[in-house]
């Protein structure tokens, strides 16, 4: 903290001390007027006056009218990282008399193409502004939002009535931790369970033991009675002793995150899992991009040492070098990951004639306006459009056959290909369609870790990662081996693509056959310098995963991954837990003392099999179980309301708004408003949001320009980049004492 910062803090304290104590029954509006929500201006104005007089005396001494432009000086610049969207662009914030007045892009960063030489003196870099999008620039308006919350608020009327009173931070923490008749003063005669009452399991060894055995029970390997006998002294710790696999009552604290990223994720996980012992930390991913990520992961997973692993969740076209890009349900100007890094690479290509783009989107987007062709596909029919393209490619032999024939790493290497596919691998055909990949052991040809291709008419065992013995297989094969019906992966895709005529696909998608053909012809006319980029458009449907896989198949058919102008995984970043040998040195979760083992099915039943639970009782289950996914945001509140698999006692909502962002958000708000379903509800937010306005307690959070963080780089960045966010102004939130240390109220404070 600099001397100046201290002064600001001190003045903020003084200012806050002058605030009148709010009276009972105050509305949000009157509270605002009283200054409990402080935009920061009063404080800043008092400092600015001092700065003005300095300037005036300097001018009187005979300087020029204005002197050097203040915002051109390095001393006015603090570099940080945006978070107005998850692209998290490096920014340059210009400070004038303690006020963040303008946000530009950081010229040293990867968003400047190419970035400014790191040897450039800061005085020169201060004069060079790099690009940043209008949303990033509007950070000034978010930071100095007149409705920023700067003090802790407690509900002073029914949930959602927007009646609040300011209470001291410590009082709020004590009430939340200890519980009690917290709302007696407004006529709510109910006992609210505090966090202490919820965190009943607090023995690390016991939690580990009970977790291990609860898993055995869930899998049917241990009887409930045996479990109960073994832990007879501790059954009160469980949500339901008849169902040990629901875990301890600690799980009845639910924490939901909207946008949260590295720097906070680690702290949040440490608190919820090892610290509190609750399984219920639910991120927002399912309402964001999850099916896109899972599809990519499954498409890129490698079979190694007996399991599938190592898949990556995201790829982007190498748009610096591409000649043709199809933006499938996304664009390079709106959303995505994100416009500041993507737009220039595309517009450069459009202006020079290097690149042609197609935008597939029901909406005429700004990206579409720059496109050679815009295909307004009917929403959610993306897989049909992709399969129509596959059909045309197969009919016209416009796929990279040589690439697809390579059945393992050695074959790819011999053919000069950086990647290979399993197009030739055989898949078992069950009575209801394609099943698992055929293993060599299934037909007594080899071990169970080998797959099978047809090579020269003969079934041949192949290990995908074998880099010594090159194997190529037949692409199109359908037959029976040792009584097992098999087809190649390529054949399965082909049959699906040929299951409908072009006219039928056209009818489903709303795209004329002529357009499908023209676009596919162009896509297959640039060798490896073509790419299909997709993001949230096709995937945010209940059939999103399948849409994604169909689209990924287009890239695989031309074998463009890791080729110049094709698909790339980006440069990546260095992990915040450090890399290599030192990796675990900074791992908060691993170094946590007295760490509890959180266990039991999550409230969303994500990562759990219904059949492997003691709740199994035939079909259908009361609510869906989601064994293959995680962070199912929209399922958390309805499950809590249904009490399935159990109810919750407390909710901590952070930087997110299920009422606005989750499907059927109005029902989320009804749940949040119900004190019987969510007995205790606290939120960390920078303003009273659509959802946080239903909370019992709202803690002021620091805005992104007031705190630290280390976001990851967009996969569109071809360079390895680690980012560091630092505060650019003193936080506007009140100063509170946590473990004897004064700090501005923020998300981080609540680990007290």
């Amino acid at each position: 903290m600099t001397e100046k910062d201290k002064e600001v803090t001190c003045k903020l304290d003084e200012y806050l001390d002058t605030l009148p104590e709010p009276e009972q029954g105050m509305t949000r509006r009157t509270l605002l007027k009283s200054g409990a929500l402080l935009g920061g201006s009063a404080l800043l104005m008092s400092q600015m006056e001092g700065a003005f007089s300095l300037l005036r005396s300097a001018e009187a001494a005979g300087g020029s009218a204005t002197g050097e432009y203040p915002l051109s000086k390095a001393t006015s610049v603090i570099y940080s990282v945006c978070l107005q969207c998850h692209t998290a662009c490096p920014i340059k914030v210009k400070i004038l008399n303690g006020v963040a007045v303008k946000i530009d892009g950081n010229p040293y960063s990867e968003n400047m193409i190419p970035n400014l030489n790191y040897a450039t003196p800061v005085a020169r870099a201060a004069k060079i502004d790099a690009k940043v999008c209008p949303k990033g620039q509007a950070g000034v308006q978010s930071l100095y939002d007149p409705y920023r919350i700067v003090k802790v608020l407690k509900r002073n009327g029914p949930r959602g009535a927007n009646k609040w009173k300011v209470i001291p931070f410590n009082t709020a923490v004590d009430e939340i931790v200890n519980g009690g008749e917290l709302f007696a003063s407004i006529g709510e005669n109910r006992h609210v369970a505090g966090l202490k009452e919820i965190r009943v399991m607090n023995d690390p060894k016991l939690s580990a033991d009970m977790a291990k055995d609860a898993k055995q029970v869930a899998e049917g390997k241990m009887k409930v009675a045996e479990y109960k006998a073994r832990y007879s002294a501790h059954l009160d710790l469980l949500i339901d002793p008849e169902h040990p696999d629901l875990g301890p009552r600690n799980n009845q604290l639910l924490s939901m995150w909207g946008r949260i990223e590295h720097g906070r994720i680690e702290l949040g996980k440490r608190f919820m899992y090892g610290g509190f012992g609750s399984q219920n930390l639910i991120e927002h991913t399912s309402i964001c991009e999850q099916s896109h990520h899972i599809a990519y992961k499954e498409a890129t997973n490698q079979y190694k040492d007996g399991k599938w692993s190592g898949g990556i969740t995201h790829m982007k076209p190498d748009s610096f070098n591409s000649e043709f890009i199809i933006f499938f349900g996304t664009g390079f100007v709106e959303a995505n990951f994100g416009p500041p890094c993507m737009a220039e690479k595309v517009t450069d290509g459009l202006a020079s004639g290097r690149l042609k783009v197609v935008v597939i989107d029901p909406r005429m987007s700004k990206s579409a306006s720059r496109a050679w062709k815009w295909l307004p596909v009917k929403p959610s029919t993306d897989a049909a459009l992709a399969l129509a393209m596959v059909r045309w490619m197969m009919e016209n032999k416009r796929y990279d056959e040589k690439y697809l024939l390579n059945a393992n790493k050695a074959a790819a290497k011999a053919g000069g290909e950086p990647t290979w596919s399993n197009a030739t691998h055989l898949v078992k055909i069950e009575k209801d369609g394609p099943g698992a990949l055929l293993r060599a052991s299934d037909i007594e040809l080899g071990d169970k870790d080998s797959f099978v291709v047809i090579a020269g008419g003969n079934p041949t065992a192949v290990k995908a990662d074998d880099d010594k013995n090159a194997v190529t297989g037949d692409l199109d094969y359908s037959g029976e081996l040792k009584g097992i019906k098999v087809k190649t992966a390529f054949t399965i895709l082909k049959e699906e693509a040929f299951s409908k005529s072009m006219a039928e696909w056209s009818e489903i998608t709303g795209i004329p056959v002529k357009d499908i053909e023209e676009v596919t012809r162009e896509f297959t006319a640039h060798g490896k310098k073509a790419a299909v980029e997709f993001y949230r458009g096709p995937v945010q449907h209940t059939n999103g995963y399948y849409n994604a896989q169909a689209i990924i198949a287009l890239n695989i058919l031309i074998g463009n991954t890791d080729h110049k102008g094709g698909m790339s995984i980006g440069g990546g970043h260095w992990h915040e837990y450090a890399s290599g040998k030192n990796k675990e040195q900074f791992n908060h979760e691993k170094t946590q003392p007295n760490k509890l083992t959180a266990f039991g099915h999550k409230i969303t039943r994500e990562g759990s099999h219904y059949e492997k639970s003691t709740l199994y009782n035939g079909y259908p289950a009361k609510r869906p179980w989601l064994p293959f996914t995680s962070n199912v945001y929209q399922e958390a509140l309805p499950s809590a309301a249904d009490g399935y698999p159990y109810g919750i006692k407390a909710l901590w909502l952070h930087m997110g708004s299920p009422g606005l962002a989750a499907p059927a958000g109005h029902t989320a708000l009804q749940i949040l408003a119900d004190v019987n379903k969510i007995p205790l509800f606290f939120a960390t937010d920078i303003v009273l949001g659509e959802s946080s306005m239903y909370a019992d307690y709202v803690f002021p959070d620091t805005a992104i320009w007031e705190r630290f963080g280390n976001p990851h780089a967009s996969p569109d960045i071809p360079l390895a980049v680690s980012k560091f966010r630092q505060p650019v102004i003193t936080p506007l939130t009140e100063v509170v004492t946590v473990y004897g240390e004064k700090t501005h109220c923020s998300y981080e404070c609540h680990r007290r």
Binding site: L32, K33, L37, L38, G39, G40, S41, L44, M45, M48, A65, T66, E68, Y69, P70, S72, L96, V99, A100, V101, K102, I103, D104, G105, M112, I113, P114, L116, K127, I128, D129, A130, K131, V132, C133, P134, Q137, V140, Q141, Y144, P146, Y147, F332, V333, P339, A343, E344, K345, T347, D348, L350, A351, M364, K366, S367, A368, S369, R370, W374, P376
Partner: protein, 260 residues
């Protein structure tokens, strides 16, 4: 891909600043093919110049044209063209002498005090501008009617080598427009809109410098001026769209939707 045009333009700028003002000739070049309509330039300009509600020096006009499925969209970034024969200057100065002036480097300068005083001169200038680039500062703030007048609105800002503050009344009641960010140029910075453009559509520099990027673009590319027939001799030059059949550059029909 042309490598780091921003750095190159900075070098161009530094070279020109070593010359006397009269030897500089600032121009702006906008490649509309690369404009993605994200309005970053407009937002940057408003923050840089503390523009209140209803005023914006840089506008990106947007229009949709044709009908589904041939529908298309078009973006047209526009600001004060710093005409060498500025109609606004003639109109205003006939009523208030010296209210609008032309600098030797080409920049058209407004005298806020004079223009705030002579409403007639201001009104005449606004009407005379064929590019709809002149806006009136009506005195309001975006955070009017909220609990606090936020500090970014009442900060000092710098235009035409003057330090201004709207809280103190500066510029309020006057007409305003793009200054080519003169205060930034004089400090060795490109105009705010140029650096922030995510499509890299914006160029700025000295036409008198034969090796500047803008001079090179004027030579290399087919550029055109907006409403060239009026004889205003604008200093903003446009590139693009001659290769697209849907918009004819000579008569940008879609622009007429915004520029009545």
């Amino acid at each position: 891909m042309a490598l780091n045009e921003i750095v190159r333009m900075h070098e161009d700028l530094e070279r020109s600043l070593k010359k006397p003002v009269a030897k500089r000739s600032w121009i702006m070049v906008i490649d509309i093919r690369k404009c993605v309509g994200d309005h970053a330039c407009a937002v940057s300009c408003m923050a840089e110049n503390v523009c209140p509600p209803g005023t914006s020096y840089r506008k990106v006009f947007e229009t949709e044209y044709k009908s589904f499925p041939e529908l298309d969209r078009f973006f047209m970034p526009a600001n004060c063209q710093h005409c060498d024969n500025p109609p606004c200057m003639k109109a205003a100065n006939s009523m208030g002498k010296g209210a609008i002036q032309k600098r030797p480097d080409g920049i058209v300068v407004f005298d806020y005090a004079k223009l705030a005083k002579s409403k007639k001169a201001a009104e005449a200038a606004k009407k005379a501008c064929p590019y709809y680039s002149i806006v009136e500062d009506k005195g309001g703030f975006y955070t009017d009617g909220t609990p606090v007048l936020e500090p970014y609105e009442i900060r000092d800002f710098y235009e035409y080598d003057k330090k201004l503050n709207r809280k103190k009344g500066d510029a309020r009641g006057s007409i305003r427009k793009c200054t080519f960010c003169l205060h930034r140029l004089e400090s060795g910075m490109l105009p705010a809109c140029v650096g922030t453009c995510i499509g890299r559509a914006m160029y700025f520099g000295d036409k008198n410098d034969p090796v500047s990027l803008v001079s090179e673009l004027l030579k290399k590319e087919k550029t055109w001026n907006f409403k060239a027939g009026l004889g205003t001799n604008p200093r903003v030059h446009y590139i693009g769209y001659e290769d697209r059949t849907k918009i004819s550059v000579a008569t940008p029909a879609s622009c007429a939707a915004c520029h009545q």
